[in-house]
């Protein structure tokens, strides 16, 4: 399981540049760090994040182990139509997570 805190504005003026913010609860275990037993803890990272706006992919990120625990991203969108903004993130085990918000432009 991985939860996230996501900030998607509910309303915007046409053409307004809005900020999207996401903080994902995840250890981002690098695979380079020893655990209690001295053996390396297995790598477990969020590998990708993307943002879909009304079905269109507008932002993607490829994450490496150098991204801090509890990955945090801020980026921007031009609000030109009402629709759903969805953030989708996935780990390397094939688990995919998503969170959406509706933005009303006008």
């Amino acid at each position: 399981m991985a939860t996230a805190m996501v900030n998607i504005p509910e309303t915007a003026a046409p053409g307004e540049i809005v900020e999207i913010k996401i903080l994902i609860s995840h250890p981002m275990e690098t695979g380079f760090r020893p655990g209690m037993d001295g053996k390396l803890l297995p790598r477990d990272i969020i590998r990708s994040l993307r943002c879909e706006y009304d079905g269109e992919t507008v932002f993607t990120a490829e994450l490496h182990p150098a991204i801090a625990a509890n990955p945090f991203f801020v980026f921007h969108l031009r609000a030109d139509r009402s629709g759903e903004i969805t953030l989708v993130w996935a780990d390397e085990k094939g688990n995919e997570f998503r969170q959406s918000g509706q933005i009303t432009v006008g």
């Binding site: 609860s25 690098t30 993607t60 150098a66 991204i67 969108l77």
Partner: protein, 150 residues
């Protein structure tokens, strides 16, 4: 929801800034970083302007370092930032993060938090829609190296 496991053996030495480095010796080197950048640029020579890498010059803890990369761009269909990649020279791996932007991103900018195993130079490279490249590098000092558990 998942919360990072918090019980680990107490191992560190030293005062309030405990001193034991528990990371494996770093694997990335300035050469490995250069090779990773080369693979991203395809051998092109980036301009050293039109891009800003904002990162604290003095880092309190290498486990979480805020960075913002901003690329000057109109972000139109004809002229926008396609991809930004961030590299480092002292972590186990040279890659940090890559983001792909679109004209609807509206700003050639993103912010995240990264890990830094010790003082080093961080490099951001942007590829524009016309294939041109831009590069910014910043040397940061990390007071406490990452990957220590106390």
């Amino acid at each position: 929801m998942t919360i990072a496991a918090s019980r680990r053996r107490v191992l560190a030495l030293g005062l309030a800034a405990p001193l034991m480095l528990l990371c494996r010796r770093a694997g990335a080197t300035p050469e490995a970083m250069a090779a990773a950048i080369e693979a991203f640029t395809g051998g092109g020579t980036p301009a050293e302007s039109g891009i800003t890498l904002d990162i604290p010059l003095l880092v309190e803890n290498g486990n979480s370092v805020p960075i913002t990369v901003s690329v000057e761009s109109a972000m139109t269909e004809e002229d926008h930032v396609e991809e930004i990649a961030v590299f480092n020279e002292a972590n186990p791996l040279p890659d940090v993060v890559r983001v792909r932007l679109t004209p609807r991103s509206s700003l050639g900018r993103f912010q995240t938090r990264i890990r830094l195993a010790g003082s080093q130079t961080i490099v951001a490279v942007a590829r524009m829609s016309d294939g041109s490249l831009r590069r910014a590098a910043v040397s940061v000092i990390v007071t406490a190296p990452a990957c220590r558990e106390s």
